[in-house]
Amino acid sequence: MVVDEVERQALDAVFHALADSTRRDIVVRTLRDEYSVSALSRLYPMTFAAVQKHVAVLERAALVTKRRSGREQLVTGNVDTVRRAARLLDQLELVWRDRMDRFGDVLAEDPNPGEPA
């Protein structure tokens, strides 16, 4: 009910993916530039395979897309998914703001229910 219209499962995958600092860093970098997986793996103190796993998690959450170019796998951040995730909290705020508006309307009709008029 909080974020009715949002694909909840997809967002869970997004937030799981973003829970790791390396993966967040990969997203931020690949939003700006396309990186090969091997270029990314040189940035972090971990193996190529480990970075590839991180990229796979991000890919499943649609936070990045991967394409092949020769022997390279090139990674690009997906702006739309990032924006959608960032909006979740704003949506929660909106849900409650709307509720409070209606709350005020209902109260205005009957400000002191239960009391004799």
């Binding site: 009910m1 937030f15 829970a19 997203v27 960032a86 909290l89 409070m100 508006d101 709350f103 002191n112």
Partner: protein, 153 residues
Amino acid sequence: MTVTSVHKDPETRTMTLTAEFAATAAGVWQLWADPRRLERWWGPPTHPATVVEHDLRPGGKVGYFVTGPDGERRTGWWHVLAVSPPDGLEFEMGDPDIQSLLVRVRIEEEPARRSRMVIVTTFPSADAMDLLIGMGFEQGLSAAVGQIDAVLA
């Protein structure tokens, strides 16, 4: 102006919303305590709520469904943790699709038959922790997204 402030704090995983109403605390309380009144504000006009169970006691449950424009129903519930009429209540709120949120409501009566209501929503679960980090991430990222917007403009 009903809502006077909204504060989102990634550190404590909370959103704190403050609203003011021209009514006594008892009046404000009735909108939580009376299921028919609750129905009038809980769901948006496109998804009106029907409260089917309303046991506002510690350990009690409030159950409802909202009906969408296509007639589709979604259920939701509160697990009531604490109740203190007319000062406030605390409940865990969930539905089949979302991790539960902790909601704490405090109602403070002010002079001249006005009241302030403070609603604190906390993300309690491990999944919600991820959500929290997503929030921190959101802040760190807004600059990057801004740059992208500038490029696309």
